[in-house]
Structure formats: structure tokens, C-alpha cells
């Protein structure tokens, strides 16, 4: 009963916050300088006669509903949003829904792969360094991870390109797939993976650095606990002690970062996407902002709002799974 009521409460709260943020965002974007209609019509201003242009301009304004008062525009926008009509991109002259899926797939693919690589490496590394705290291996890993974590991504990216694409051309410098490739099946997948290798590598560097240290700290805390001594005194195998007793208790901080990462899956990185010419959501967002393409930007922003709000609830539920002491109650 506690759980159901709690989730209902959280849902009401999410809806409430969603509307508040949507009003704020709408207001902010509407008050930004720059006229989207001008940008949309672009060259027509110079190539058309002033009268004809004015007529076209008025017609466009009317089509886009920009002549109505702001509250009416908000309600119309919100209504469309809720029914899945995300609006019309003034920049691409297409429905938002049609242009957003390709970069989203690109971004999500890249992020999922990075996440897998990071977790496969960082979690065991964090556990091992915690178990061998202050040993030579641990100290080396500590230095390497702090370096990896601190170097800005674009430097890592340039280094990686220089080494692995220019000096030793193992991976392509940029792009999503080989030009003119007409393969299907396994070959296509391999080509995609080959192009993803460098960006994933670069993104993993800071991720591994951060998460290894996070897991290590959590594990060291747990390994100090008396119940770990109990487990050893029981005569359990050291593996059981470390991986079952200790790691399960170190999971709470790991769940926190994992959840935020899953939420972040849909957020593109402008730096990575620019360096590797990777058409993802980061580039989409910045282009949208520069071009005053509010339909695109607002849709993406609202998507992120929903994502982080639900992410919080998912995290709470995950806590109850990993820690029986956590109860979802109000």
C-alpha cells in the first residue's frame, strides 16, 4: 500500500513540475531575441519584392500561429505536445518528429556502448583497487584515473585521433559510417562499430576515471564494516565476501550514478559530436538554438525534463531493490 500511494504522489508531483517548467521554458524562448520567421524565410527577403515578401511573411506567421497572444500560443503548443504533435521545425522545414529520430538513435547508440564499456571496466577495477587498497596496483590506478578524469574531453579526443587515426590509421577519423557503403547485416554492424570505436574510447576515458574512483570509495567504506569480518569469520570464500557481501552494500552510490547516466543517454555531447562529426542530439540542440528553431529546442528540452523527473522515481525504486532498508513511503 505504501508503494502505490508513494508512486501516485510522485506522479502528481511530476505532472506539476512538468507544467511549471514548461511555462518557464516557453516564456524564456519567446523572450529570446531573433525572429524565427525571418530565419525560416531566409534569402526570400532579398530575392522577393517587398510587398510579396510581406504577404508571405504574414502568411507564415499566421500558419505558425505566432500572431495570437502568448497564453493562447502556450496552450496550443502544450496541447500539441501532449498529443504527440511536436511542431514544425523552421530550420529544416519538416515536422520535428521526423528530424529528431536519426540523431537520437546516433546519440543513444554511442552512449549505450560507452556505458557498457565503462561499467565492464570500472566496476571490477574499483572493486579490485578497494580490496588491494594502497598497494602498488591501486596507487597506479588512482593516478591514471584522476588524470583520465581531469583531462578535458577534446584533448583526449585530439590525442586519440592523432594516435589511432593519423599515426596508426586503425580507426576512421570521423563520421557514422563509410561513405558509399552498401552493406547489410553483419558487415553493416561492424562498419558502424568501427566508426564508433574512437568516440566511445574518448568518452569512456573520463567515465572510467570517475566511476572507478566512485566504486572504490564505496567499497572501501563497506569493507571496513563489521559484517564483512562476520562474513570472513563465518568461513566464506573471499570471493563471496567481496562480491556478494561487500559489493551489494556498495551498490547504492553505483545505482545513483547509473540512473543519471541512463537519463544522460539521450543527452548528446557537443564536444564529441563536433570533433567526430557525429550527427547527434548535442549538435541538433545547439543548431536549433542558433537558428531560433524553437519547436526543436523546446521539444528536446521538455523531453529532458520528463526524463530527469522519471529518472528520479526510477532511482528510488532501484534503491528499494538493492537495499531492503529503503522503503518507499511518504
Amino acid at each position: 500500500m505504501g508503494k502505490g500511494r508513494y508512486l501516485l504522489k510522485r506522479f502528481v508531483y511530476i505532472v506539476f513540475v512538468f507544467f511549471i517548467i514548461s511555462i518557464l521554458m516557453f516564456a524564456i524562448y519567446k523572450s529570446m531575441p531573433g525572429n524565427p520567421v525571418d530565419i525560416m524565410l531566409g534569402d526570400s527577403k532579398t530575392s522577393m519584392k517587398p510587398d510579396a515578401y510581406q504577404a508571405l511573411y504574414d502568411k507564415t506567421v499566421k500558419d505558425l500561429g505566432l500572431d495570437k497572444p502568448l497564453p493562447v500560443q502556450y496552450v496550443a503548443w502544450m496541447g500539441n505536445m501532449l498529443t504527440g504533435e511536436f511542431g514544425y521545425s523552421t530550420q529544416y522545414k519538416q515536422e520535428v518528429i521526423n528530424i529528431i529520430s536519426a540523431p537520437m538513435i546516433n546519440t543513444v547508440l554511442l552512449n549505450i556502448l560507452t556505458m557498457i564499456v565503462v561499467f565492464i571496466i570500472a566496476i571490477p577495477l574499483g572493486i579490485v583497487t578497494a580490496v588491494r587498497k594502497n598497494g602498488a596496483f591501486d596507487k597506479t590506478v588512482q593516478v591514471v584515473t584522476i588524470v583520465g578524469y581531469s583531462i578535458p574531453t577534446f584533448i583526449v579526443a585530439l590525442l586519440a585521433i592523432f594516435l589511432l587515426a593519423v599515426k596508426f590509421p586503425i580507426f576512421p577519423i570521423s563520421g557514422v559510417k563509410s561513405a558509399g557503403l552498401n552493406a547489410t547485416g553483419v558487415e553493416y554492424v561492424l562498419d558502424r562499430l568501427w566508426h564508433m570505436a574512437l568516440p566511445v574510447l574518448v568518452m569512456s576515458v573520463s567515465g572510467i576515471g570517475g566511476i572507478t574512483r566512485y566504486v572504490r570509495a564505496a567499497m572501501i567504506d563497506v569493507l571496513r564494516m563489521d559484517y564483512i569480518k562476520t562474513a570472513r569469520a563465518k568461513g566464506l570464500r573471499e570471493k563471496t565476501v567481496v562480491y556478494i557481501h561487500a559489493f551489494r552494500n556498495a551498490l547504492i552510490p553505483v545505482v545513483t550514478i547509473t540512473t543519471w547516466w541512463v537519463v544522460g543517454l539521450f543527452g548528446g555531447s557537443i564536444v564529441i559530436e563536433s570533433v567526430f562529426l557525429w550527427p547527434g542530439l548535442g549538435k541538433m540542440l545547439i543548431d536549433g538554438l542558433l537558428q531560433r528553431d524553437f519547436a526543436v529546442v523546446l521539444t528536446m528540452q521538455m523531453f529532458y525534463v520528463v526524463l530527469s523527473l522519471t529518472g528520479n522515481v526510477i532511482m528510488d525504486i532501484a534503491y528499494t531493490i538493492v537495499d531492503p532498508r529503503v522503503r518507499l513511503e511518504d
Binding site: 559484517y227 569469520a233 563465518k234 537495499d323
Partner: protein
Amino acid sequence: MQNENRKVLLTIKDVKQYFPVKKTKLREKQRYVRANDGISLEIYEGETLGLVGESGCGKSTFGRTLLQLYPQTHGDVIYHKDGKDIDLKKLSKEQMRVLRKDLQLIFQDPYSSLNPRMTVGQIIGEGLVSHGIFKKGDPAMQEYIFRVMENCGLATYMFGRYPHQFSGGQRQRIGIARSLALNPAFVVCDEAVSALDVSIQSQILNLLSELKEKQNLTYLFITHDLSVVKYISDRIGVMYLGNMVELAPTEELFANTLHPYTEALLSAIPVVDEEDKRERILLEGDIPSPVNPPSGCKFHTRCRYCQQKCKEEVPQWTNVGNDHYVACHFPLHKNNG
């Protein structure tokens, strides 16, 4: 001199346990905390050996060193099992792990010593599976755990609950059930009742004595509470700053105190009867640092009978008869010896 035919379960010879102190200067000499500085004694089968001493004197370390929970610095711990003498220090990790079935530990703090992510059933059952007493998922195991829980005063419906749902006394019972489920021969009770309030303490003490009778256990009972140790022990050892200073059967120790430190400790037991008020001996100053212990007899800095010899010579560990050992140059007057 009594019970010549007692069977020795553990022989402890000159056990030392040092912990390195973190260096503060780069070229400093490595210093050590001498938590146990040469302890020798024998533990007989079926007895309860009480171990007392003030905080930081190395009692808990001694208990844990016996069980090889720390890498032992020096000395031998010999476990006599079925006619064989096993030197625990020389065992590999895996051999020691197997032996842990016989040598168990009950922890001081019932709040932190139980894994919060595991149910009571898992906590008790895990050791059973690990030592091959039951196969994983064996339905007979649950029966067995139920029986152990009932023996320790836990209701069987608590099987699926988590530690945080219990009170301190119940948690300590879980800890006891956990260690006794393996049918050990020797149990170190490391301040097993100190964290509990007095009414619960007596319940747990009675439970421990009862289980001892039932399962023919041997206890090393570590505590700083003299009334507890008097109540439960057959013999009592007194520790000071990493050394054993006196060891005697309980009656003998109380009737015929030989070491000045023991005398001071015993004088601190609260008495109910106003008539019976004894002189309270106050020890002055703090316990010296175990990193840099005093020369000679370690107790000389606080001993009211201290003489020149005490500052220079380390007193020998001697048997003065009646199974009574003491390490002091000038043992107190013997009443009836």
C-alpha cells in the same frame, strides 16, 4: 592442580600481534602498535575463559588473532583436534577457511556485524552452505535453521526478516545463532553483551551458558565488565597493555588477588551493601601508549607498589600454584597460601 585430566583445546605460545603505525616523516623508523606482546596460555575443552582489561589493552585483538583474522606477527596458536595438533598460523587461507567451522566468533556490536542486505535465514544459512553442511536450497536446511533459531530464542517467523527490523538483543541472538549453527568447538565472544542493556545482558549470558551445556562449547569470553566475567567464567585472565598479567580460576582470582592491577580492577566492581564497602583503588593517569610501552613491568607507571626493580626488569610469567599465574615482581600477600 585440580582436574589434571582436562583436555587442552588450544595452546597459545608467545603470541604477538603488532600493527604498523603510519609514518609521519619520510625517513622515520617504522613503529608498531604492540597490541599483543607475547601471550601464552592454554584453553581447556569445555571451559569459559574470561578475558578482562581496560579499553585498548588488546583483548579483542587477542581474540581475533587466535582466529587468524589478522596476519599473526609471532608465536603459535595450536588447535588440538581429534588427537592432531594444528598450528593455525601455518595454514593456507583455504585450510583456515575450512577450519572456521570449528572456531567461531560472536561480535561486540550487533548493529554493525550483520549484513543489512541479507535476511536472517540467509545470514545463518550462508555458513552452512559454505562449509558443505547443507547443499544450497536443501529443504532440510530450513528445518535446521528453524531449530537453531528456536534454540537461540528467535521465533521462526523472523526467518525472512532483515537485521534492521530487530532490536539489539534480538540481533545479538541472530549473531549467536549464526555462529552456533556451524556446531563449532570454540567460540570467541568478543564483548558479546557489552552493547546491550543490563536486562538483555543477563538473558544473553544465560542463553550462552545454556548453549554451552547443550553443545559442549568452549568460550573465550572477552569483556571489560567484571561482574559479567565473574558470573560466566571458569577462569579469568587479566590483560594490561598487550600482556597477560594474571590468570587464575575465578574463585581463586577473587579470593587471592596477586597482581596490583587486578586488585585495582576488582576494587572497581560496584557493591550494593554499604557495610561491605572496600577501599577503592584509583589508578592514576592514562593507559600508556602501546607504541612506546614503559620499560620493565609495563604497569609500573601506575602501580602504587612500584619499586626500582619494576622499572628495569620485565617480570616473568610464573605459576604460583593452584593453577594461578601472575607476572609481577612483588605479588600481593597471599591470604591462605
